[in-house]
């Protein structure tokens, strides 16, 4: 079966850079919010920057929530990037408690809630390593990448709690550890921006598209 790669267009995020990262591998992608195309994709990338409540509102208005649930059920590979990863989970406390797509059970919180009495600079901006202490939980989109590679993060929120069956590779910022890459079955997420993380980021996108 030939690949049908879809980038979800719901009016947030730097979609062009994701499209370019895919073209760079010689592959074609469609940028769309058309339900039928989304539901018939083999690979979906859910981008996202900005605020959680607004992003969910836009997905809802475009009737994309059900399409993404159908895609998950069909076994389509889905990759959420940055806010797109956070949207995959059940809820976030950004501004107000907001329901997410709930493709995976879990909750998003601001990084300063990860430990008590934290006074940290947010957003967390910069190039950070992944912790490679979870060898038994290898996530396949991280294959063929040197261990100490750095990725570009820019975010204030992260996944604080989820079920044990979710595979997680952490990163850290000022002694707070938080999930940087997650995977459950056909659903993947990167808290950083692979499309802005040089060759190592492009390799993640290539690995995902090769699933």
């Amino acid at each position: 079966m030939s690949k049908k790669i879809t980038i979800i267009d719901y009016g947030v995020g730097n979609i062009l850079s994701i499209k370019n990262a895919i073209s760079y591998q010689g592959l074609k992608s469609v940028v769309t919010n058309d339900n039928k195309i989304i539901e018939n994709s083999t690979h979906i990338i859910l981008p996202g920057v900005g605020a959680y409540p607004l992003a969910m509102k836009k997905l809802k208005n475009l009737k994309l929530i059900d399409s993404l649930k159908i895609a998950k059920h069909n076994g389509t590979f889905i990759l959420g990037i940055c806010l797109g990863m956070q949207l995959l989970f059940s809820s976030s406390d950004e501004f107000e408690s907001t329901e997410g797509l709930n493709l995976i059970e879990g909750n998003i919180a601001k990084l300063d809630k990860f430990k008590k009495n934290l006074n940290i600079k947010l957003p967390n901006i910069g190039w950070r390593n992944l912790k490679n202490n979870q060898k038994d939980l290898k996530i396949n989109i991280l294959n063929n990448i040197p261990n100490n590679s750095k990725y570009y993060f820019i975010h204030s929120h992260a996944l604080i709690k989820c079920k044990k069956n979710v595979k997680i590779v952490n990163s850290s910022y000022q002694n707070i550890e938080f999930p940087a890459v997650i995977n459950l079955n056909n659903i993947y997420g990167c808290q950083f921006h692979p499309e802005k993380s040089r060759t190592q980021g492009l390799q993640i996108i290539e690995n995902f598209l090769n699933l």
Partner: protein
Amino acid sequence: MRIIPRLDIKNDNVIKGINFEGLRVVGNPNEIAKKYYEEGADELIYSDCVASLYGRNSLTDLVKRAVKDIFIPITVAGGIRTEIDANLLMQNGSDKLAINTELFNNEELGGQLVKKFGSQSIILSIQAKKISKNSWEAYKNFGRDKTNMDVIEWVKKMSVYNFGELLITSIDADGISNGFDVELFEKICQNTNIPIIACGGFGKLDHIKELKKYANVDAISLSKALHYKKITINEIKNFLKKIDE
């Protein structure tokens, strides 16, 4: 600490001046950007230095071309006056926008853009000119015009809009290669908890050491020393590793 080369653009050329004046052509933006990307830049800043004067930003095509094969974050500064300007740049590959001049006509623009694109995409840019000891005035139009606004007051006033970063350029130090205005950054760090990009004055590695001693800045942006090959990004990064140990 992130290292962010800044490309000042005029008429499709990278230019560089001293104290924002006396501009000289340095070269082709695409070639220069690609070179800094390959040398290990953490991000790039494109600044349209005549945009505010002409009332438009002309960098859309340049950025669109750049992001085809440059996979690091790109910030665009200069002449962003409306949500429409911002949207056009974001749709064509910009990751972040830095806003200065228009905020003095329309403060609300900051809040509007943050709401639409998120804090992480919108940078408050300030061009600071020293008035007296511990006092700086914010300038607009690429450092050409006074605003009668104290820099620290401005940082405090703007904090309600939740900008994701501050890009602070010292007009006095820019292009002189004589070191950062350390007092300026020290003062700003005492007054905000937002990540800071320090710009203007880099001449040699010890200038970074001096800056770090007094101010907890998150990034430095530089242009002249790189354009004229006084230093490479790699040399700066190796130096940072050494002083962090």
